[in-house]
Symmetry: C2
Subunit: 204 residues, 2 copies
DNA sequence: GTCTATACTCGGATAGAC
DNA sequence: GTCTATCCGAGTATAGAC
Protein backbone atom coordinates (compact mmCIF):
# COMPACT_ATOMS: atom_id res chain seq x y z
CA UNK A 1 0.00 0.00 0.00
CA UNK A 2 1.30 3.37 -0.97
CA UNK A 3 2.15 5.56 1.95
CA UNK A 4 0.11 8.73 2.14
CA UNK A 5 2.59 11.56 1.57
CA UNK A 6 2.75 13.98 4.42
CA UNK A 7 3.79 16.94 2.33
CA UNK A 8 5.62 19.00 4.90
CA UNK A 9 8.93 17.21 4.73
CA UNK A 10 11.86 18.99 6.33
CA UNK A 11 13.20 19.85 2.92
CA UNK A 12 9.89 21.44 1.95
CA UNK A 13 9.79 23.43 5.15
CA UNK A 14 13.32 24.69 4.58
CA UNK A 15 12.63 25.70 1.01
CA UNK A 16 9.47 27.52 2.00
CA UNK A 17 11.18 29.36 4.83
CA UNK A 18 14.22 30.18 2.71
CA UNK A 19 12.08 31.55 -0.05
CA UNK A 20 10.26 33.98 2.16
CA UNK A 21 13.40 35.14 3.99
CA UNK A 22 15.55 35.51 0.87
CA UNK A 23 12.86 37.31 -1.07
CA UNK A 24 12.21 39.66 1.79
CA UNK A 25 15.77 40.41 2.86
CA UNK A 26 17.89 39.57 -0.15
CA UNK A 27 20.99 37.39 -0.15
CA UNK A 28 23.13 39.80 1.91
CA UNK A 29 20.42 40.63 4.42
CA UNK A 30 19.09 37.11 4.99
CA UNK A 31 20.21 35.17 8.08
CA UNK A 32 20.47 31.40 8.22
CA UNK A 33 19.13 31.64 11.77
CA UNK A 34 15.96 33.33 10.52
CA UNK A 35 15.45 30.63 7.94
CA UNK A 36 15.99 27.91 10.54
CA UNK A 37 13.57 29.59 12.96
CA UNK A 38 10.91 29.99 10.33
CA UNK A 39 11.33 26.36 9.29
CA UNK A 40 11.18 25.25 12.93
CA UNK A 41 14.60 23.59 12.89
CA UNK A 42 18.18 24.59 13.70
CA UNK A 43 20.99 25.98 11.62
CA UNK A 44 22.95 22.73 11.48
CA UNK A 45 20.13 21.02 9.68
CA UNK A 46 20.09 23.68 7.00
CA UNK A 47 23.64 22.80 6.15
CA UNK A 48 22.82 19.13 6.25
CA UNK A 49 20.27 19.61 3.50
CA UNK A 50 21.90 22.37 1.51
CA UNK A 51 25.65 22.55 1.92
CA UNK A 52 25.84 26.37 2.08
CA UNK A 53 23.87 29.59 2.14
CA UNK A 54 25.02 30.33 -1.40
CA UNK A 55 23.70 26.99 -2.66
CA UNK A 56 20.39 27.40 -0.91
CA UNK A 57 20.05 30.87 -2.30
CA UNK A 58 20.70 29.78 -5.85
CA UNK A 59 18.11 27.04 -5.56
CA UNK A 60 15.44 29.44 -4.37
CA UNK A 61 16.43 32.17 -6.71
CA UNK A 62 16.50 30.18 -9.92
CA UNK A 63 13.01 28.95 -9.30
CA UNK A 64 11.74 32.37 -8.33
CA UNK A 65 13.24 34.20 -11.28
CA UNK A 66 12.01 31.52 -13.64
CA UNK A 67 8.51 32.31 -12.41
CA UNK A 68 9.13 36.02 -12.82
CA UNK A 69 10.08 35.70 -16.46
CA UNK A 70 8.46 32.58 -17.83
CA UNK A 71 4.82 33.21 -16.98
CA UNK A 72 4.89 35.78 -19.70
CA UNK A 73 5.83 33.50 -22.54
CA UNK A 74 2.54 31.70 -22.89
CA UNK A 75 0.63 34.94 -23.11
CA UNK A 76 2.98 36.68 -25.50
CA UNK A 77 3.03 33.62 -27.71
CA UNK A 78 -0.73 33.19 -27.84
CA UNK A 79 -2.35 33.62 -31.22
CA UNK A 80 -4.88 36.33 -30.37
CA UNK A 81 -5.34 40.00 -31.33
CA UNK A 82 -2.78 42.46 -30.00
CA UNK A 83 -5.13 44.37 -27.73
CA UNK A 84 -6.45 41.18 -26.17
CA UNK A 85 -2.91 40.11 -25.63
CA UNK A 86 -2.08 43.32 -23.82
CA UNK A 87 -5.10 42.88 -21.59
CA UNK A 88 -4.24 39.28 -20.81
CA UNK A 89 -0.65 40.11 -20.16
CA UNK A 90 -1.35 42.85 -17.63
CA UNK A 91 -4.01 40.90 -15.87
CA UNK A 92 -2.04 37.66 -15.57
CA UNK A 93 1.17 39.40 -14.64
CA UNK A 94 -0.43 41.46 -11.91
CA UNK A 95 -2.11 38.34 -10.57
CA UNK A 96 1.25 36.63 -10.37
CA UNK A 97 2.76 39.66 -8.67
CA UNK A 98 -0.05 39.76 -6.13
CA UNK A 99 0.94 36.25 -5.16
CA UNK A 100 4.66 37.07 -5.14
CA UNK A 101 4.92 40.70 -4.16
CA UNK A 102 8.59 40.62 -3.15
CA UNK A 103 9.74 38.82 -6.26
CA UNK A 104 10.56 41.70 -8.59
CA UNK A 105 12.57 43.74 -6.11
CA UNK A 106 14.51 40.68 -5.15
CA UNK A 107 15.29 39.60 -8.70
CA UNK A 108 16.26 43.07 -9.82
CA UNK A 109 18.37 43.54 -6.76
CA UNK A 110 20.47 40.49 -7.32
CA UNK A 111 20.81 41.34 -10.97
CA UNK A 112 22.16 44.73 -9.95
CA UNK A 113 24.34 43.82 -7.00
CA UNK A 114 25.84 40.59 -8.35
CA UNK A 115 25.64 41.01 -12.12
CA UNK A 116 28.22 38.30 -12.82
CA UNK A 117 26.53 35.66 -10.74
CA UNK A 118 23.17 36.69 -12.09
CA UNK A 119 24.22 36.40 -15.68
CA UNK A 120 26.14 33.18 -15.26
CA UNK A 121 24.23 31.14 -12.70
CA UNK A 122 20.78 32.61 -12.50
CA UNK A 123 20.05 33.68 -16.02
CA UNK A 124 20.23 30.46 -17.97
CA UNK A 125 18.22 29.74 -21.07
CA UNK A 126 15.93 32.69 -20.75
CA UNK A 127 13.72 33.32 -23.72
CA UNK A 128 13.97 36.60 -25.55
CA UNK A 129 10.48 37.20 -24.35
CA UNK A 130 9.75 40.37 -26.13
CA UNK A 131 11.02 39.59 -29.61
CA UNK A 132 7.79 38.07 -30.84
CA UNK A 133 5.88 40.89 -29.21
CA UNK A 134 8.07 43.41 -31.02
CA UNK A 135 7.39 41.78 -34.37
CA UNK A 136 3.69 41.92 -33.71
CA UNK A 137 3.82 45.62 -32.91
CA UNK A 138 5.86 46.33 -36.00
CA UNK A 139 3.39 44.42 -38.14
CA UNK A 140 0.34 46.22 -36.68
CA UNK A 141 2.06 49.54 -37.19
CA UNK A 142 2.78 48.77 -40.81
CA UNK A 143 -0.80 47.73 -41.37
CA UNK A 144 -1.67 51.18 -39.97
CA UNK A 145 -3.91 49.64 -37.37
CA UNK A 146 -2.22 51.42 -34.51
CA UNK A 147 -0.19 54.58 -34.13
CA UNK A 148 3.46 54.13 -34.87
CA UNK A 149 5.47 53.28 -31.80
CA UNK A 150 8.85 51.77 -30.99
CA UNK A 151 8.13 48.27 -29.66
CA UNK A 152 10.93 48.49 -27.11
CA UNK A 153 9.36 51.58 -25.56
CA UNK A 154 5.89 50.11 -25.61
CA UNK A 155 7.07 46.91 -23.98
CA UNK A 156 9.06 48.82 -21.38
CA UNK A 157 6.03 50.99 -20.66
CA UNK A 158 3.82 47.99 -20.16
CA UNK A 159 6.07 46.07 -17.81
CA UNK A 160 6.99 49.27 -15.95
CA UNK A 161 3.37 50.06 -15.17
CA UNK A 162 2.68 46.48 -14.08
CA UNK A 163 5.75 45.83 -11.97
CA UNK A 164 6.78 49.17 -10.51
CA UNK A 165 3.86 49.57 -8.08
CA UNK A 166 4.96 46.39 -6.32
CA UNK A 167 8.51 47.63 -5.99
CA UNK A 168 7.45 51.06 -4.80
CA UNK A 169 4.70 49.78 -2.53
CA UNK A 170 6.02 50.92 0.87
CA UNK A 171 6.85 54.42 -0.35
CA UNK A 172 3.58 54.68 -2.21
CA UNK A 173 1.60 53.55 0.81
CA UNK A 174 3.32 56.06 3.07
CA UNK A 175 2.91 58.95 0.67
CA UNK A 176 -0.70 58.24 -0.26
CA UNK A 177 -1.76 56.96 3.14
CA UNK A 178 -3.14 53.75 1.65
CA UNK A 179 -3.41 50.70 3.88
CA UNK A 180 -2.86 47.08 2.78
CA UNK A 181 -6.40 46.61 1.53
CA UNK A 182 -6.51 49.85 -0.35
CA UNK A 183 -3.21 49.07 -2.02
CA UNK A 184 -4.46 45.68 -3.04
CA UNK A 185 -7.58 47.22 -4.51
CA UNK A 186 -5.45 49.80 -6.29
CA UNK A 187 -3.32 47.22 -8.10
CA UNK A 188 -6.40 45.12 -8.82
CA UNK A 189 -7.82 48.15 -10.62
CA UNK A 190 -4.64 48.41 -12.60
CA UNK A 191 -5.42 45.14 -14.36
CA UNK A 192 -7.99 47.22 -16.23
CA UNK A 193 -6.59 50.74 -16.15
CA UNK A 194 -3.20 49.83 -17.61
CA UNK A 195 -4.55 48.13 -20.74
CA UNK A 196 -7.06 50.96 -21.15
CA UNK A 197 -4.30 53.51 -20.85
CA UNK A 198 -2.13 51.71 -23.39
CA UNK A 199 -4.90 51.06 -25.87
CA UNK A 200 -6.13 54.66 -25.75
CA UNK A 201 -2.63 55.70 -26.62
CA UNK A 202 -2.24 53.25 -29.50
CA UNK A 203 -5.65 53.65 -31.08
CA UNK A 204 -5.83 55.73 -34.22
CA UNK B 1 42.88 86.80 3.31
CA UNK B 2 40.40 84.01 2.83
CA UNK B 3 41.98 80.64 2.44
CA UNK B 4 41.34 79.01 -0.90
CA UNK B 5 39.25 75.94 -0.17
CA UNK B 6 40.82 72.74 -1.27
CA UNK B 7 37.59 70.88 -1.78
CA UNK B 8 38.69 67.28 -1.32
CA UNK B 9 38.73 67.22 2.45
CA UNK B 10 38.81 63.79 4.04
CA UNK B 11 35.20 64.17 5.01
CA UNK B 12 34.25 64.93 1.42
CA UNK B 13 36.17 61.92 0.18
CA UNK B 14 34.46 59.68 2.70
CA UNK B 15 31.01 60.95 1.83
CA UNK B 16 31.63 60.50 -1.86
CA UNK B 17 32.97 56.99 -1.42
CA UNK B 18 30.20 56.03 0.99
CA UNK B 19 27.55 57.30 -1.38
CA UNK B 20 28.74 55.20 -4.28
CA UNK B 21 29.24 52.06 -2.20
CA UNK B 22 25.96 52.31 -0.30
CA UNK B 23 23.94 53.09 -3.39
CA UNK B 24 25.51 50.23 -5.28
CA UNK B 25 25.47 47.55 -2.59
CA UNK B 26 22.82 48.68 -0.14
CA UNK B 27 23.23 48.93 3.61
CA UNK B 28 23.59 45.18 4.21
CA UNK B 29 25.90 44.56 1.27
CA UNK B 30 28.20 47.54 1.75
CA UNK B 31 31.58 47.02 3.50
CA UNK B 32 33.32 49.69 5.52
CA UNK B 33 36.56 48.41 4.04
CA UNK B 34 35.30 49.13 0.51
CA UNK B 35 34.34 52.64 1.51
CA UNK B 36 37.72 53.19 3.15
CA UNK B 37 39.55 51.85 0.09
CA UNK B 38 37.56 53.99 -2.28
CA UNK B 39 38.20 57.05 -0.12
CA UNK B 40 41.90 56.20 0.07
CA UNK B 41 41.98 55.93 3.86
CA UNK B 42 41.58 53.19 6.48
CA UNK B 43 38.59 51.90 8.40
CA UNK B 44 39.56 53.54 11.69
CA UNK B 45 39.28 56.95 10.14
CA UNK B 46 35.77 56.26 8.97
CA UNK B 47 34.76 55.73 12.56
CA UNK B 48 36.63 58.83 13.62
CA UNK B 49 34.50 60.93 11.29
CA UNK B 50 31.22 59.05 11.49
CA UNK B 51 30.82 57.03 14.68
CA UNK B 52 29.22 54.00 12.98
CA UNK B 53 28.18 52.43 9.71
CA UNK B 54 24.55 53.06 10.61
CA UNK B 55 25.18 56.79 11.14
CA UNK B 56 27.13 57.10 7.92
CA UNK B 57 24.41 55.32 6.05
CA UNK B 58 21.69 57.57 7.38
CA UNK B 59 23.65 60.63 6.42
CA UNK B 60 24.09 59.45 2.85
CA UNK B 61 20.62 58.11 2.57
CA UNK B 62 18.72 61.12 3.80
CA UNK B 63 20.47 63.34 1.32
CA UNK B 64 20.00 60.87 -1.52
CA UNK B 65 16.33 60.24 -0.90
CA UNK B 66 15.70 63.95 -0.50
CA UNK B 67 17.07 64.35 -4.01
CA UNK B 68 14.94 61.50 -5.25
CA UNK B 69 11.72 63.03 -4.04
CA UNK B 70 12.22 66.77 -3.86
CA UNK B 71 13.33 67.49 -7.42
CA UNK B 72 9.79 66.80 -8.41
CA UNK B 73 8.14 69.46 -6.31
CA UNK B 74 9.28 72.44 -8.31
CA UNK B 75 7.99 70.98 -11.52
CA UNK B 76 4.68 69.76 -10.17
CA UNK B 77 4.10 73.11 -8.51
CA UNK B 78 4.89 75.18 -11.59
CA UNK B 79 2.04 77.22 -13.02
CA UNK B 80 2.05 75.89 -16.58
CA UNK B 81 -0.34 73.81 -18.68
CA UNK B 82 -0.76 70.15 -17.72
CA UNK B 83 0.81 68.69 -20.84
CA UNK B 84 3.87 70.92 -20.53
CA UNK B 85 4.14 69.87 -16.94
CA UNK B 86 4.13 66.21 -17.89
CA UNK B 87 6.85 66.83 -20.45
CA UNK B 88 8.97 68.78 -18.01
CA UNK B 89 8.50 66.23 -15.31
CA UNK B 90 9.62 63.26 -17.39
CA UNK B 91 12.53 65.10 -18.88
CA UNK B 92 13.85 66.50 -15.61
CA UNK B 93 13.29 63.30 -13.72
CA UNK B 94 15.06 61.15 -16.25
CA UNK B 95 17.94 63.61 -16.29
CA UNK B 96 18.24 63.31 -12.55
CA UNK B 97 18.10 59.52 -12.78
CA UNK B 98 20.81 59.47 -15.44
CA UNK B 99 23.03 61.22 -12.94
CA UNK B 100 21.97 58.93 -10.07
CA UNK B 101 21.15 55.60 -11.67
CA UNK B 102 21.39 53.53 -8.48
CA UNK B 103 19.27 55.86 -6.42
CA UNK B 104 15.78 54.46 -6.93
CA UNK B 105 16.65 50.83 -6.30
CA UNK B 106 18.51 51.82 -3.17
CA UNK B 107 15.73 53.98 -1.78
CA UNK B 108 13.01 51.48 -2.54
CA UNK B 109 15.10 48.70 -1.08
CA UNK B 110 15.59 50.35 2.24
CA UNK B 111 11.93 51.31 2.33
CA UNK B 112 11.06 47.64 1.84
CA UNK B 113 13.65 45.95 4.03
CA UNK B 114 13.65 48.40 6.94
CA UNK B 115 10.21 49.97 6.80
CA UNK B 116 10.33 51.22 10.41
CA UNK B 117 13.64 52.95 10.04
CA UNK B 118 12.62 54.31 6.68
CA UNK B 119 9.41 55.80 7.95
CA UNK B 120 10.91 57.19 11.15
CA UNK B 121 14.40 58.32 10.28
CA UNK B 122 14.55 58.64 6.53
CA UNK B 123 11.13 59.85 5.60
CA UNK B 124 10.87 63.14 7.43
CA UNK B 125 8.85 66.10 6.22
CA UNK B 126 8.22 64.72 2.78
CA UNK B 127 5.75 66.64 0.70
CA UNK B 128 2.64 64.94 -0.54
CA UNK B 129 4.07 65.49 -3.95
CA UNK B 130 1.23 64.28 -6.01
CA UNK B 131 -1.71 65.98 -4.31
CA UNK B 132 -1.50 69.16 -6.34
CA UNK B 133 -0.98 67.11 -9.46
CA UNK B 134 -4.09 65.09 -8.64
CA UNK B 135 -6.17 68.24 -8.26
CA UNK B 136 -4.97 69.48 -11.60
CA UNK B 137 -5.94 66.24 -13.32
CA UNK B 138 -9.35 66.28 -11.70
CA UNK B 139 -9.89 69.85 -12.83
CA UNK B 140 -8.85 69.16 -16.44
CA UNK B 141 -11.11 66.13 -16.50
CA UNK B 142 -14.06 68.15 -15.28
CA UNK B 143 -13.40 70.78 -17.87
CA UNK B 144 -13.58 67.90 -20.37
CA UNK B 145 -10.20 68.81 -21.74
CA UNK B 146 -8.80 65.31 -21.31
CA UNK B 147 -10.25 61.86 -21.07
CA UNK B 148 -11.39 60.92 -17.62
CA UNK B 149 -8.70 59.18 -15.63
CA UNK B 150 -7.98 58.42 -11.99
CA UNK B 151 -5.11 60.75 -11.01
CA UNK B 152 -3.51 58.10 -8.82
CA UNK B 153 -3.24 55.72 -11.76
CA UNK B 154 -1.96 58.41 -14.09
CA UNK B 155 0.66 59.51 -11.61
CA UNK B 156 1.70 55.94 -10.93
CA UNK B 157 1.93 55.29 -14.68
CA UNK B 158 4.13 58.30 -15.20
CA UNK B 159 6.63 57.60 -12.43
CA UNK B 160 6.65 53.89 -13.27
CA UNK B 161 7.66 54.53 -16.86
CA UNK B 162 10.34 57.01 -15.81
CA UNK B 163 11.90 55.12 -12.92
CA UNK B 164 11.48 51.43 -13.72
CA UNK B 165 13.98 51.27 -16.60
CA UNK B 166 16.72 52.33 -14.22
CA UNK B 167 15.80 49.65 -11.73
CA UNK B 168 15.52 46.96 -14.37
CA UNK B 169 18.59 48.05 -16.30
CA UNK B 170 20.81 44.99 -15.88
CA UNK B 171 18.04 42.56 -16.78
CA UNK B 172 16.90 44.72 -19.65
CA UNK B 173 20.42 45.01 -21.01
CA UNK B 174 20.96 41.27 -20.86
CA UNK B 175 17.65 40.42 -22.47
CA UNK B 176 17.83 43.01 -25.22
CA UNK B 177 21.58 42.82 -25.72
CA UNK B 178 21.97 46.58 -25.30
CA UNK B 179 25.32 47.94 -24.17
CA UNK B 180 25.86 50.94 -21.89
CA UNK B 181 25.66 53.49 -24.67
CA UNK B 182 22.59 51.99 -26.24
CA UNK B 183 20.86 51.90 -22.89
CA UNK B 184 21.71 55.51 -22.28
CA UNK B 185 20.33 56.44 -25.69
CA UNK B 186 17.22 54.41 -24.95
CA UNK B 187 16.37 56.27 -21.76
CA UNK B 188 17.26 59.57 -23.39
CA UNK B 189 14.61 58.79 -26.00
CA UNK B 190 12.16 58.13 -23.22
CA UNK B 191 12.22 61.80 -22.24
CA UNK B 192 10.14 62.26 -25.37
CA UNK B 193 8.38 58.94 -25.84
CA UNK B 194 6.87 58.82 -22.36
CA UNK B 195 5.15 62.22 -22.54
CA UNK B 196 4.01 61.39 -26.09
CA UNK B 197 2.60 58.10 -24.91
CA UNK B 198 0.78 59.71 -21.99
CA UNK B 199 -0.57 62.64 -23.97
CA UNK B 200 -1.86 60.41 -26.80
CA UNK B 201 -3.75 58.49 -24.17
CA UNK B 202 -5.23 61.55 -22.48
CA UNK B 203 -6.15 63.53 -25.59
CA UNK B 204 -9.78 63.58 -26.56
C1' DG C 1 17.80 12.98 10.50
C1' DT C 2 18.10 15.98 14.15
C1' DC C 3 20.24 17.98 17.86
C1' DT C 4 24.06 20.71 20.92
C1' DA C 5 28.32 22.56 21.07
C1' DT C 6 31.96 24.66 18.94
C1' DA C 7 35.16 26.17 15.37
C1' DC C 8 36.13 29.59 11.97
C1' DT C 9 35.60 33.91 9.38
C1' DC C 10 34.29 38.28 8.32
C1' DG C 11 33.64 42.82 9.31
C1' DG C 12 32.38 46.68 12.46
C1' DA C 13 34.36 49.02 16.16
C1' DT C 14 38.05 50.61 19.53
C1' DA C 15 42.77 51.51 21.74
C1' DG C 16 46.70 53.76 21.52
C1' DA C 17 50.97 55.34 19.09
C1' DC C 18 52.45 59.03 16.22
C1' DG D 1 43.93 63.66 11.97
C1' DT D 2 45.74 59.46 10.59
C1' DC D 3 47.71 55.19 11.23
C1' DT D 4 48.49 49.93 12.97
C1' DA D 5 47.01 46.51 15.73
C1' DT D 6 43.47 44.32 18.01
C1' DC D 7 39.10 43.24 19.88
C1' DC D 8 34.68 41.30 19.66
C1' DG D 9 30.14 40.17 18.04
C1' DA D 10 27.54 38.13 14.48
C1' DG D 11 26.84 34.69 11.44
C1' DT D 12 28.30 30.65 8.52
C1' DA D 13 29.81 26.21 8.83
C1' DT D 14 31.29 21.72 10.99
C1' DA D 15 32.02 17.88 14.57
C1' DG D 16 30.07 14.60 16.98
C1' DA D 17 26.48 12.66 20.15
C1' DC D 18 21.98 10.64 19.91
Amino acid sequence: MVKIQKQDTTEQKILGAAKSVFLEKGMAGARMQDIADKAGINKALLHYYFKSKEKLFEMIFKEASALFFSKINGIIDADIPLFDKIENFCSAYIDMLLQNPYLPLSVLNEATKQPQRFKQKLWKNREQIFIKFAHEIASETQKRKIKSIDPAHLFMNMISMCIFPFIARPVWMISTGMDENEFRAFVEERKKTIPQFIIESLNK
